[in-house]
């Protein structure tokens, strides 16, 4: 602490300070430029064929693009909220499934010695190396061969359903969740668990009353990461789903962007992009504090 106050360094000159400020501002402009551009195009009237200049607030600025996005963003008869609900179901379901199963599996891998531990970890590590695209063909073919007839949902092809997309996503998300949670559990001190074991608590009890509460930040982070990737998942849903009522936000965005300038509904695409980005960004900003708080450190020190 004292060393930083003992400034033996020369104070930077005014010219240096101005130069630094200009450089930082210049970088800030390049960072914000695309974001501001999208925002300004999203305020353009719907009959705009193409942006005709760089205006911060466009001529005849209006929110009609947002209203149109909420009501019917694509030519399919689905509203933004129906698309968002589909994305929410897929993202929420896969995040819950992978974190729930993942934390159960991470506990013995992090804490207990047993036969096959190394093998299981190697398998998970190997699977993690594969990008999601790499299991597309077998998942598509396999799920396509399964016809389900469920009580409420009726008869359907598993491939052409959100359940099928969810299964495909879990295929990659579960190994990631296990690995991530195991890595976090490894950093949690064991004193509390050892004390509980001395007191005669069972493994199940130790897991439920000690490990689970301590792992909460990691569970939240892993769940959040899973949710984010599910919220904008594209490969599987684009490949699997054919009925407009099942479509997701990412699919709609991809379908909206045409190849030629005149074919792009500029204000709609921009408003849609913003509405697609806001929910996860807001959740991230709100939970940042919670995510970075060190619950594990506190409980041992206290």
């Amino acid at each position: 602490m004292t060393t930083s106050k003992r400034r033996s360094f020369r104070e930077p000159s005014l010219l240096t300070k101005i130069g630094l400020q200009l450089a930082a501002l210049g970088i800030l402009i390049t960072v914000l430029f695309p974001i501001i551009w999208v925002f300004s195009v999203s305020l353009s009237p719907l009959n705009l064929i193409r942006p005709d200049g760089l205006n911060l607030i466009p001529k005849d600025a209006t929110f009609e693009a947002y209203l149109q996005v909420i009501e019917r963003p694509t030519s399919n008869p689905v509203s933004f909220f129906e698309l968002a609900f589909n994305s929410l179901k897929i993202a929420g379901g896969t995040a819950l499934a992978s974190v729930g199963l993942g934390v159960l599996a991470a506990y013995p891998l992090s804490r207990l010695a047993f036969r096959g531990r190394t093998f299981i970890m190697l398998v998970i590590l190997g699977v993690l190396m594969l990008p999601a695209v790499a299991t597309l063909a077998p998942l598509f073919v396999t799920l396509n061969g399964i016809k389900l007839d469920l009580p409420i949902l009726g008869a359907f092809n598993l491939r052409n359903s959100q359940l099928g997309v969810g299964i495909a996503i879990v295929s990659g998300a579960l190994p990631f969740a296990i690995w991530n949670l195991k890595g976090y559990l490894d950093t949690i001190p064991r004193e509390l668990e050892e004390a509980a074991a001395v007191d005669g608590a069972s493994q199940a009890r130790i897991f439920r009353s000690i490990v689970l509460p301590l792992a909460l930040p990691a569970i939240a982070v892993t769940g959040f990461l899973g949710f984010i990737s599910g919220w904008t998942e594209f490969y599987y849903s684009w490949m699997f789903l054919t009925q407009p009522r099942d479509f997701t936000l990412a699919m709609a965005l991809s379908a909206m962007t045409g190849t030629y300038a005149s074919a792009i509904p500029w204000p709609l695409v921009s408003a849609f992009s913003i509405m697609l980005t806001l929910p996860p960004a807001i959740v991230y900003l709100l939970s940042q504090r919670f995510i970075t708080s060190g619950l594990a450190v506190g409980s041992v020190k206290g």
């Binding site: 060393t3 033996s8 360094f9 300070k17 630094l20 400020q21 930082a24 970088i27 800030l28 390049t30 960072v31 695309p34 974001i35 942006p51 993942g102 159960l104 599996a105 506990y107 013995p108 804490r111 207990l112 047993f114 398998v123 699977v127 190396m129 594969l130 695209v133 790499a134 299991t135 597309l136 063909a137 077998p138 998942l139 598509f140 073919v141 396509n144 061969g145 016809k147 879990v170 990659g172 579960l174 296990i178 064991r190 199940a204 897991f207 904008t232 490969y235 490949m239 990412a250 965005l253 991809s254 962007t257 300038a261 005149s262 792009i264 500029w266 992009s273 697609l276 980005t277 960004a281």
Partner: protein, 326 residues
């Protein structure tokens, strides 16, 4: 291994915790991977997909041979070009990300800079935006007729009295290479710009963390010893940055190597498939061409490539030991 809790070797407890996840993984992850391996030796195609269709024929290594010798009957396919471009794409991006990330971290760490917290908070905004939105936005930014990039260039050009028609640039589809002796299409440079925008902020965050861990006295001692700015940067700053940046560079390399969104949504692999990556090619084989067996074999090839890369990078991260190991 001594840190692991020793429990009765016969105890079933670990397996009961593992069972749910392992059963699910066996069905949705491991089985598809094994099935994929089998598929890759067959001619599984659209005809074998419908219910009650005949089983595909065994073709041995034919799919692999066709993939590696670029004999696939799809347009613009060359395995060697795809592979070399993919390596170059990842290397060029990561190099620029790290240099920019470190440079901007140094700027943010400079005692003369004001409002650091605001800059730090705003600089990471690109990371919060979903990849598909980033890719479609940059694709629109580079649009020939209405994109902001061309308009910005026109504005700058006006100052120098350059006619605006000069900047009707078809960034993502122009066939001629912009630099005649460098065999890279214009869309590569456009995607490079987009990915620089996306990639440097996280590098700067990592570098900032490492910079703040450097004891200030080291610089003072160096100055007293008469070391110049460059010498103390090389011996102190870089030494402390390396252990943080090397693993992150490796991570960045793998992420960029498999970066689906830009190549798929921005350039669609064009022009003539020259900006296609292995992952987007794998997706197109299955999704657009319905060549399921070829796609499966392609995925196996991709796995071998990624395995090799991770073995090499493991070596690199071991070779660049941490400074406190010396």
């Amino acid at each position: 291994m001594s840190i692991l809790t020793r429990i009765n070797r016969r105890s079933l407890t670990p397996y009961m915790f593992l069972a749910p996840a392992m059963v699910v993984m066996a069905i949705v992850t491991i089985y598809p991977l094994i099935f994929q391996f089998w598929m890759s030796f067959t001619d599984y195609g659209l005809a074998n997909l419908r219910q009650g269709a005949p089983a595909p024929d065994w073709v041995g290594l034919e799919n692999y041979v066709k993939i590696l010798t670029s004999e696939l009957s799809i347009p613009n396919y060359s395995f060697l070009r795809l592979f070399l471009y993919n390596i170059f794409w990842a290397l060029s991006n990561v190099t620029i990300h790290i240099i920019l990330g470190v440079a901007i971290a140094l700027l943010l760490n400079h005692p003369g800079l004001k409002f650091k917290r605001i800059y730090r908070a705003l600089y990471v905004l690109p990371v919060l935006i979903p990849p598909i939105v980033v890719a479609t936005t940059w694709r629109n930014l580079f649009n020939q007729d209405a994109g902001a990039v061309n308009m910005l260039l026109e504005l700058v050009g006006q100052v120098f009295r350059i006619p605006p028609e000069t900047f009707s640039i078809d960034w993502l589809r122009q066939v001629e290479d912009p630099i005649s002796f460098v065999p890279l299409p214009l869309s590569y440079y456009a995607m490079l710009i987009a990915n620089i925008w996306l990639g440097w902020p996280l590098n700067a965050v990592v570098a900032t963390g490492a910079l703040q861990a450097i004891p200030k006295d080291l610089y003072e001692a160096a100055e007293i010893d008469g070391a110049g700015k460059w010498a103390s940067f090389k011996t102190i700053t870089l030494t402390y940055l390396r252990p943080a940046m090397v693993p992150f560079a490796i991570y960045g390399f793998v992420v960029t190597f498999n970066l689906f969104s830009l190549a798929y949504f921005m350039s669609s692999g064009g022009p003539f498939g020259r900006t296609e990556l292995l992952v987007t090619q794998a997706y197109r084989l299955v999704n657009e061409r319905q060549l399921y067996a070829v796609g499966a074999a392609f995925a196996v090839v991709l796995f071998v490539i990624l395995l090799t890369i991770s073995l090499i990078t493991n070596r690199i991260s071991k070779a660049t030991a941490r400074y406190d190991d010396f």
